[in-house]
Symmetry: C4
């Protein structure tokens, strides 16, 4: 039971001062980033030809470590009151979002062994990037982003609806302006949406743009009026992110004594 | 009279708890979005060839529903004190902006029957997108945007004037710099305005750009100084939108008792 | 003397209720915008061929009106205490910035008559756009912009210096990265500055971009770090513009009685 | 000893009223900007051919001046209590960041004489731009930027991590979408990162963009969701910069007497 509790402490995010658990967390984090690097650089033809065997071995090693971590987590989770009970507790632990991510990070490797014939190996490789989502357990930036999105949910949904309406209306407008002049490029309204996205986000690749006078007039008006609409989520998200950071910083100190809350109490502090 | 009142309740935006009216609103909303989807995907050649008959049938069905809704609204509106009177009340109701939108959404379908020969069918198809404006009756995002624009009207007009001046001056400048080197591309000041819009909104398609040293110098100065001007409406609109949302949220609770204002009063509340 | 005072009242911006002066201001404003339109549309080859004579006549008419306005202003200005004195007062009036703009708006027309042979007629045409600056006398948007720039002068200068340093450093960096691979495009550091301006303002025409791995790495880092720097003036100017508008609105009401200051006092108000 | 103190006063940033020291500072600043201009314009082939000898002579002169300034600083620094002691004090002075910059600004010139054979002369030329960093001693804009970055360190690191994750995930996604259709352009994930940087910063050169329907759909979603993330550092830095300026302005006046702190006290002020 003591071993199980210790293992649970180790696989969970380390408490202040728990050196072994902290080292474990750091190792997993490093392994996650090495995995992302392996996916990224493994996509380069030359790297794959020269280091293919090593990359495959590293993949097996990584999956082994992540599998052991997953099993250790499920085995030891019963010591946590939230997940008490050998079956229902473990099931509840397994359905936690971050534990599901842990499963998704290793599942693609095992699918072929489960009799599922996966020809589309390339999608599998992409799914290995799910391992990056495991970072969320250790690193608060993703949590802050989630808080920011949650706090500004209403504004984000409202502006998304406005963006969708604008996208449909401006694409239809440009389609009717440019379809005759450039039937290949502005071939349909869905195709014109690619123009609308490139323009309203101000990316402007230059692969598709109006050439008629009417089309340019409409595109100019759409751009001037619409860019502000597409910039709304950016300013909403920015404000939400800065709020989330200041809320987090405010939560760190006690409002009564002004001491840091995530430091262990010193002996001379009152009980 | 009771039927007329009930129909008016149904075609208007549903009050809290009125299930049938709510279901009616939702059906109309879904029909509007299906219509937008039909316009968008109906512009794809392959879809039109394969589903042309179905799309035409769906168009007839939609116009029928929207026509019935329009007539029901005009017939029942007299129960509302604002539109009392069989002729003048109905006329006043018909001239409400949102009711005009309702008319515009169905009118293009009937124009050929009225003896107006419409060869330009393609513009007609575009006008079907007016149906999206009907969303404004049910969804507050468009209202919020209107409030934001209204509240910041003065700033928006001022910055629009500045943008217009900047557009004229920078286009003229670049025209005189680049006309000799690229007589085809920078053919006139109106043509150069397309360059100015693409540059000052930072879209930058790349179909038109200066090549002379003087032109690039002027373009660089115009871009650095002018982009801030074109970003003004974006920040004005963003601030206005966030203000409108917080005003709307503030209006929801009573400042005296803190209760939500758009919920029906519970029995134990004082009369 | 009474005529002189009346003429001064008319050529100056109209006081509340002075209908004739107001009509005069409006006519001058309309004439200024018609002049800008003549410059813009006069640059279109087809328009010039078909309406050349009319445009030339309109030019002569405009210069005549603006000359009469200029002379009337200088003749009548002595009634204003600021410009008292037939010679020194008029000289002081002539050196007012807006009066200098008035002179610049008509001077190019008269230069050939003064014996100055101006072959570069095209620059002359551009100078006609100076007439747009006359708008500043009647319209407050340009004044607000000037106030915003003045109030945020220090921040704008600081960020301009930072932008200059960034421009030099990033251009030099990319020049050394890309010069060997693209000697024609990245031919020198000044030429590379065109790339830097297009990238840091996020316009990105696509006429010049790095192709080597090192160049793309540097360009990516420069873009991610530098765009924030080039966006600084935009946010500084935006904040300053909104401040200037709220200052102007605050100045409109008396802080003691809350009444509008630019309305004539009603009879029942205390003396 | 008096000469040494005077020289130290001169090479340091001038105190209010010290004319000779102020003139020295200004001369060094001008020399720094002339050096930057020499590097920039010396990269133009025509300038190098015509003014090569003069540029080389100016380089020798500049290095001479900067070397004398460096030696004078190290010789005289012992009069400052911070750098007391002929050896340890001078060493401490030499390791100050700005003094290291002074050394880096002249070192490349002397390296060949030290027996280090530098074939890569072009990198040397780039290092001469380090002299621009010497501006930091005299000009506060760079200091303000450093303060802004320091104050918002946490937010900047958090958003950089988010940008890194987004870069890896979006590049991998687009690589798997577009690799088959454009094997040359989207050749690997690192190559696709160039697309991701150009898109998420909204530069959009147009040298690389998706062409498949799935790729465009993913690119559109990535652009709409991701641009806000890449704009976060811009708004964080902008807010930090404005804060740093207002802090600096607030520090200038004493909060008790309201007098400017960086002016010498007048005789009638209390001791």
């Amino acid at each position: 039971m003591a071993i199980r509790r210790r293992i649970w402490e180790i696989v969970e995010v380390a408490r202040e001062g728990d050196r072994i658990s902290h080292a474990f967390d750091l190792s997993i984090l490093v392994l996650i980033f090495l995995n992302a690097a392996a996916v990224v650089f493994g996509s380069v033809e030359e790297v794959r030809q020269q280091w293919g065997a090593q990359l495959a071995a590293f993949e097996v090693f990584s999956v082994l470590v992540f599998t052991l971590e997953y099993l250790a987590r499920l085995w030891s989770c019963t010591v946590d009151p939230r997940f008490a009970g050998p079956v229902r507790g473990r099931l509840r632990a397994a359905l936690q979002p971050l534990t599901l991510v842990d499963l998704l990070a290793i599942l693609p490797f095992y699918l072929p062994f489960l009799g599922i014939d996966l020809r589309s190996l390339r999608v599998l490789r992409l799914m290995r990037l799910f391992r990056l989502a495991k970072v969320g357990r250790y690193y608060s930036a993703l949590g802050l982003l989630r808080d920011a999105v949650t706090a500004r949910r209403e504004e984000l949904i409202l502006s998304t609806v406005l963006m969708g309406l604008l996208l449909v209306v401006s694409s239809s407008l440009l389609y009717y302006c440019e379809h005759t002049a450039q039937p290949e490029v502005f071939s349909s309204i869905p195709a014109t949406m690619w123009w609308a996205v490139a323009t309203l986000t101000t990316v402007g690749y230059g692969d598709i743009y109006p050439v008629t006078v009417l089309g340019r007039l409409c595109a100019g008006v759409v751009a001037i009026l619409g860019i502000g609409m597409f910039a709304l989520p950016t300013s909403i998200l920015g404000a939400g992110f800065l709020d989330a950071i200041s809320r987090k910083n405010a939560a760190r100190t006690c409002p009564h004594c002004g001491k840091l809350l995530n430091q262990p109490a010193s002996p001379e502090s009152p009980p």
